[in-house]
């Protein structure tokens, strides 16, 4: 179903992948497991023969979530809860929910209580990453996840199953990276929206199929130089709604590098060779940190500075999810560190349900106009 998609189809599906996942489930009879984003090892779920689906919120109206999570909860958490409660919950045979912050800790409790008959497991990722104990813990949690899935779905997996799954997932990331290389140089070949849709959809559909699509897209990219593009770096957790990418495309911004969780941080998650469990643990520490959770602003700053030095873009655009507390504690210092380097940065606050795109457009335009005019 997902092996021969055009870029247009990919973009459409990325906007709302659920009808096609439903259809796929019906055709294949496979088990579907949803996770909010943050470090659940999807390779493990896939190794069971299940489809791991990253939940990336919804822009449909909030109905049930507000009475369970107040309006000062981050909009990603609220909209994911709504997605499950009102719209797509019945599609899933289970959920594995990572806990990274206070909000996600409660979110998994609320979720479990509201889905009493569905499998809901927490994945307790460590919130410190510099000490040996964190490594121990990631491995422990991965093993617990395997045991929990085994017990619930009465199925066992072997190291070989895991290895096969890892190879497939690694291949997916390698393919997207190749496309990223082309996009950087030839922004005409693929728009920002199309490119980030490839990543999003990769997090949601069957890789065995989708990798075929990626190969075809990679081979068909037209390497044409573009004119009048402004290169930027994107950072944050996710960039939603996807119409924001339309705005980028409209004013000819070219994202040449990013530190998004639904971007390069995902691509960095290639699992090294060796014993699969050790390798999965190792991967946790190899990729960039989950924006505001692991360690502090220094790491985020260093990562952005390195990207800036490498790709020499014109500015950084920070996508802030309202009301992500962790981001809000980091932001003032991050801002001043970046400013000190003389790097222009634009902060874009987003919310799933209520974002006004025209407002974003005006602000983005103003920022890039003054950037061009040299008044920044």
């Amino acid at each position: 179903m997902w092996e021969n998609l055009s870029l247009t189809e990919v973009t459409e599906l990325a906007k709302d992948p659920y009808p096609s996942i439903r259809k796929w489930k019906k055709e294949t009879g496979k088990t579907i497991v949803g996770s909010t984003i943050a470090d659940v090892p999807e390779e493990v779920i896939y190794a069971f023969g299940f489809l791991p689906v990253a939940l990336l919120g919804t822009n449909k109206p909030l109905k049930k979530a507000p009475s369970l999570l107040p309006d000062n909860a981050c909009s990603l958490a609220r909209s994911n809860l709504e997605l499950a409660l009102s719209y797509e919950g019945d599609l899933f045979d289970g959920f594995v929910l990572p806990q990274v912050c206070d909000t996600t800790q409660h979110l998994s409790d609320i979720w479990r209580i509201n889905f009493p008959n569905t499998y809901v497991e927490s994945f307790l990722a460590p919130r410190q990453v510099d000490r040996e104990s964190a490594r121990y813990w990631v491995k422990e949690e991965t093993e617990r996840l395997i045991a929990s899935l085994s017990a619930r779905f009465n199925k066992k997996i072997t190291d070989e199953d895991l290895k096969r799954s890892i190879v497939l997932h690694n291949e997916n990331k390698a393919l997207i990276k190749e496309i990223y290389e082309v996009k950087r140089k030839y922004p005409v070949s693929i728009t920002n929206k199309e490119f980030f849709s490839l990543i999003k959809l990769s997090m949601q559909v069957d890789k065995a199929e989708f990798n075929q699509t990626l190969k075809k897209i990679r081979d068909s990219l037209e390497k044409k130089e573009g004119e009048g593009y402004t290169e930027i770096i994107l950072t944050g957790i996710t960039c939603d709604p996807p119409e924001i990418f339309d705005l980028f495309d409209e004013i000819k911004l070219n994202v040449v590098a990013d530190a998004l969780v639904t971007g390069s941080r995902y691509l960095q998650g290639v699992v090294p060779e060796g014993n699969p469990l050790d390798a999965l643990a190792e991967r946790h520490f190899k990729r960039g940190f989950y924006s505001p959770i692991h360690d502090n602003v220094y790491k985020g700053f260093k990562e952005l500075k390195a990207l800036f030095d490498q790709y020499k873009p014109k500015a950084i655009v920070y996508i802030h999810i309202e009301f992500c507390e962790s981001e809000e504690y980091d932001m003032p210092d991050l801002k001043s560190m970046i400013k000190k380097e003389g790097i222009p940065m634009h902060i874009l606050s987003t919310e799933f349900q209520t974002l006004s795109l025209s407002h974003v457009r005006t602000r983005l335009q103003a920022f890039f106009e003054s950037l061009k005019g040299g008044t920044l």
Partner: protein, 407 residues
């Protein structure tokens, strides 16, 4: 023979000596360690690190109604008004020096324990960046409802406590003394038992204490755990309240409503709320929050293990189902017939559980709940009339419920 000092006098003396030591820490060859109110501070005490709780300092300012003023200084620095009012008060104090106390000594090191909230980790990181100071994050995964997982969580936490000890040894260049830890743990265990006994006095009818007494009485447990004076304080406090019990003295003599409170208090409305409720014959007896320091150490176990077990299973790190069990236990033991569920904008870590918790509690106890949204310290989110009307309406409901029950 001089008379035994009162608990109030003792509390004052302990606090003064503590702050005096903290301000002179460097002179005394000690370091100042900032830590979270819920954290294995016994390791600090055993290693001669003076623990400082910036939350307490913030509470003093919030109680004195300084919240809005100091918080807005922080907001002008670019911080969101949606952050915890403790953090905003603290950052504002650092920027402006504004405080109603003598302030608190500057930190040398930080210990952030996630069992309380993740906010503190982020807040401490902000402070640490100001001086490039070391932060230790004691990461406590949620105390999920699975026995095997709990064992593993404790193991992970014990590993981290060992790392914490090595970290302290590295910074202070001093070997950690496990015998001293045993001693500190003994004091902590004793004072915790007495502290819980103090809170549990609210079981008596009429109750000799209200939650407001508990909130005042908890201070020493928060910042002086692990010392002999902490034990002495709670012994004295228990004796005093015992006397009240013997004499049948209650906070409200004709108790009509014995209430549960969810969340932290609205610090700047603290005494007003007590008076208002008393006028309805109501007294708030307890909350899970004040019970957060009713620790239950097992001194026969490896000290690191019992420390890990205790800090991991605090209410704030428990699942909502477990929180409900803990609260229901209090409802039964204290024979409560009403509940005020406070949605505190500041504290996401406690409040995001409240709507679900409220549903479970009303279902399990059959008692209606009063829910209100405000902020524990920032007056800008507080509406007096709204709350008064709500309280009035709530007692009307309870009254009519009682009438229909007796009919």
């Amino acid at each position: 023979m001089s008379e035994k000092p009162s608990s109030k006098a003792l509390s004052k003396k302990i606090t003064e000596e503590y702050m005096d030591e903290a301000f002179r820490a460097h002179e005394l060859g000690k370091l100042v360690g900032y830590t979270t109110a819920i954290s294995p501070v016994e390791l600090f005490v055993a290693h001669d690190i003076v623990p400082i709780y910036p939350e307490n300092h913030a509470v003093a300012n919030l109680t004195a109604k300084k919240g809005a003023e100091i918080c807005s200084i922080t907001e002008n620095l670019g911080y969101s008004s949606h952050l915890c009012a403790y953090a905003r008060t603290d950052l504002g104090y650092r920027e402006s020096g504004k405080t109603i106390t003598k302030g608190i000594p500057e930190p040398d090191i930080f210990l952030a324990c996630n069992a309380q909230c993740f906010t503190l980790t982020k807040w401490f990181q902000v402070l640490a960046r100001r001086g490039d100071l070391p932060v230790f994050v004691f990461d406590t995964p949620e105390h999920v409802m699975n026995a095997a997982a709990r064992k593993e969580i404790v193991k992970y936490c014990v590993l981290q406590l060992k790392e914490l000890i090595a970290w302290l040894e590295g910074i202070t260049k001093k070997k950690f003394n496990y015998d001293r830890l045993q001693e500190v743990m003994m004091y902590s265990a004793q004072s915790s038992i007495l502290y819980k006994k103090f809170l549990d006095m609210a079981q008596y009818k009429p109750s000799p204490i209200s939650i407001f007494d508990a909130l005042i009485g908890m201070a020493i447990a928060v910042y002086r755990r692990g010392t002999p004076e902490c034990v002495e304080y709670y012994q004295t406090l228990c004796d005093e309240i015992d006397e009240k019990v013997q004499k049948g003295i209650g906070v409200v003599q004709d108790e009509k409503y014995r209430l549960y409170w969810e969340n932290l208090p609205v610090w700047f409305k603290f005494s007003d709320h007590a008076k208002l409720l008393a006028s309805y014959g109501a007294v708030i007896l307890t909350s899970l929050y004040v019970h957060a320091w009713s620790l239950d150490f097992d001194l026969n176990k490896d000290p690191l293990e019992t420390l890990a077990e205790n800090y991991v299973n605090r209410f704030s790190n428990s699942t909502i189902e477990d929180r409900a069990d803990m609260a229901v236990d209090l409802f039964k033991r204290y024979d409560m017939n009403g509940m005020i569920m406070f949605m505190n904008r500041s504290c996401k870590a406690v409040s995001f559980a409240v709507p679900t918790l409220k549903d479970i509690l009303t279902k399990r106890t059959g008692i209606p709940a009063l829910v209100f949204e405000s902020d524990m310290g920032d007056q800008r989110f507080y509406s007096e009339t709204q709350i008064r009307t709500r309280i009035e309406a709530y007692f009307e409901t309870l009254d009519s419920l009682q009438r229909s029950k007796s009919a």
